[in-house]
Symmetry: C2
Subunit: 390 residues, 2 copies
């Protein structure tokens, strides 16, 4: 547990502390990202909503089930327990609060999950207010070696350029993304569907411990909570909202990564996809999204940087391929090359006529073309070599 | 040689015959698609230009080189020779003239090559006026097996749907495209850089003969002309102009297929590209064009049909992937599934609380989930199976 992870909340004003405790209590009441709850907090404020719910009675004047459950909670103790686990609870108003997640306030009103998280539980030294240009790299759990390799390259490249890589800590593309960032000695952020103190999947213990020691493990779910299915959907929205843009490396048509992608789209942030063989089901969801115009095609970390860096700062030069011998020819020599036949050889006079140039000049040019391997002298005439033909 | 291939020009009016002969003569004078020539024909008409050039004298009153060369030509004899080779010369005003190539009149004014062909030399029974919705399928000569397979699938699919497949008769993707169309028992059109009577590359003799017997072999270059480098560029423009849209299957950054693509773009017709592994140089040119927004991504023949068929006629349904067991669940059973933990098992009461449903209903739903393989009963509780997790 780092010193930083346990350094709050002693020096905070009481009002903020009351807010934090109310948010802890409300977090414990329902599932992460329930739209009803996040909308009420946005409308009434956490403290006021907490008071209202605590006092809520039914038609017979009895406390409602919600009121009873709230009264039984001890949010201060939850914070102490979290603190002992190395987990802090970051809420709006904290210096560390990642304000980019506020964009969720306007997004997803028609969905079960949506709205701004009540708070984020964080384990690890990387502060969440230092993610302005974070890049989410996500994709299929059933990734191919190809997908793993590309995800690692992209993560390593964007991490080396100073962008924190955010992913979901899952097997497949998520793991490759985190590993790519780690290989670049850069902090990375894993957003989990279970509590930030927990390890899921179990095989990722070493990786998640490393991330918690160098970056941050984040969850909207309180410590100790299990990875329920529904929490993955809420988690995907947090990955999208923390990040300035999202790259999907491999995603089948029904992949959860497309859920993260759709949140990125709703937040109107750059949404990128890496193509693959059209014969690979693991790339089919990405192809579909690019085809429909929802995603931009990217092929490498440099392409991603162009789209997530401040406008114009990381432009990718149009790719031209390597220069060929032909590129190095003078215009007139190229004119001669263009007039050399590909199959049966032609005489210098015939080539000169085709090129519209004098015979003497053409003869000199042909000798040069032979020297650089683009034309060859055969059967008393000239024709293109294999290289000259391409 | 089919009867149709040698059926002209006896029943044509003399005026058109004069036009045809002028166009033959002008074709023999320079390289195919020279912008200076096509622009002059567009401005002055072939017959008038032919007369002007025939009478052209220099400052000393001598016939110019061009006038002398024109005078030495015998276009009627060229047509006879072509006829014996099974090649006809199709010009504007002929019933068979493919009017879609007229779009070239406005395109490429700044290029060495450009403008409407003076005529097209054709070998084979397929009439060029029956190409309204032809699809060009082109790509790298240095194609991969992957590219070949995808090109064949696309060609076979669009050919089966009644679109003639146009390509360049070259090795690699071109060959795969022609073969795909042939496998669908459909006519296909090969546009060559050499004369329509010639075979280049030599290894494609059987294929080109088959195309000439069932479809059409086309060239802007007169019979007998060799495949010079410069003629490939003029040829690419004809492929684009004959076709309603172009699909590039594999193209490295410097591939000639991108030249065909840029003509398609200039003609403002659908330009499509098939992605591949980002690690494959053979796909890099396609990825670059999709990334820059110049090409639409397509993954199969059905995607191509959507873009080349009359608007709205061949829409591809959004791809949803196969239905899973989860899709077949009722809303409430799905709610229960969402509340089942992925790792350590939870009791029915805990799952009921998470789901916000009654214990009795949840118990029934859990048993159903077990039956369909999404949840399992372990350690006195319930958790998701591997399938339930996805």
């Amino acid at each position: 547990m780092s010193a930083e992870a346990s350094s709050y909340p002693t020096d905070r004003p009481a009002a903020t502390e009351q807010e934090r405790l109310a948010r802890v209590a409300l977090s414990l009441l329902g599932e992460p990202g329930e739209t009803k709850m996040t909308a009420l907090v946005a409308e009434l404020g956490a403290v006021h909503l907490h008071e209202l719910l605590l006092g809520e009675t039914d038609i017979e004047g009895l406390h409602t089930d919600v009121a009873a459950r709230l009264a039984a909670l001890d949010p201060a103790r939850e914070l102490e327990v979290a603190d002992r686990l190395g987990v802090r609870f970051v809420v709006p108003g904290d210096d560390e609060w990642p304000s980019q997640v506020e964009s969720l306030a306007g997004a997803g009103a028609l969905h079960d999950r949506g709205g701004v998280p009540l708070g984020l539980w964080v384990r690890g030294p990387h502060r969440l207010d230092r993610l302005e240009r974070a890049v989410a790299v996500v994709g299929s759990r059933a990734a191919t070696t190809y997908g793993d390799d590309v995800a690692s390259e992209i993560a390593a490249t964007v991490a080396s350029a100073g962008h924190v890589v955010v992913s979901g800590g899952a097997i497949g593309i998520d793991r490759a993304a985190h590993r790519g960032a780690v290989s670049a000695d850069a902090p990375t952020v894993a957003v989990l569907a279970c509590g930030a103190d927990r390890v899921y999947p179990q095989g990722h213990k070493a990786m998640l411990d490393h991330i918690a020691a160098t970056g941050a493990v984040v969850s909207e779910a309180p410590p100790g909570w299990a990875p329920h299915r529904i929490r993955f959907l809420a988690r995907n929205r947090v990955i999208a909202a923390l990040s300035h843009g999202t790259v999907v490396v491999e995603a089948a048509l029904r992949s959860g990564a497309l859920n993260t992608a759709s949140w990125t789209g709703r937040l109107q942030r750059p949404l990128m996809g890496v193509p693959g063989p059209v014969t690979s089901a693991a790339s089919s969801g990405v192809h579909e999204q690019i085809r429909l115009g929802a995603m931009s095609l990217v092929t490498c970390g440099a392409d991603v940087l162009e789209l997530v860096a401040p406008a114009g700062e990381r432009l990718v030069e149009p790719r031209r391929g390597v220069d060929t011998e032909r590129d190095r020819l003078s215009t007139r020599r190229r004119q001669v090359l263009d007039a050399v036949p590909a199959a049966a050889a032609a005489g210098t006079d015939s080539i000169a006529r085709t090129a519209g140039l004098g015979v003497r000049e053409v003869r000199g040019a042909l000798e040069h073309l032979e020297t650089v391997g683009l034309a060859e002298h055969v059967d008393g005439g000239w024709r293109l070599t294999d290289e000259g033909r391409h």
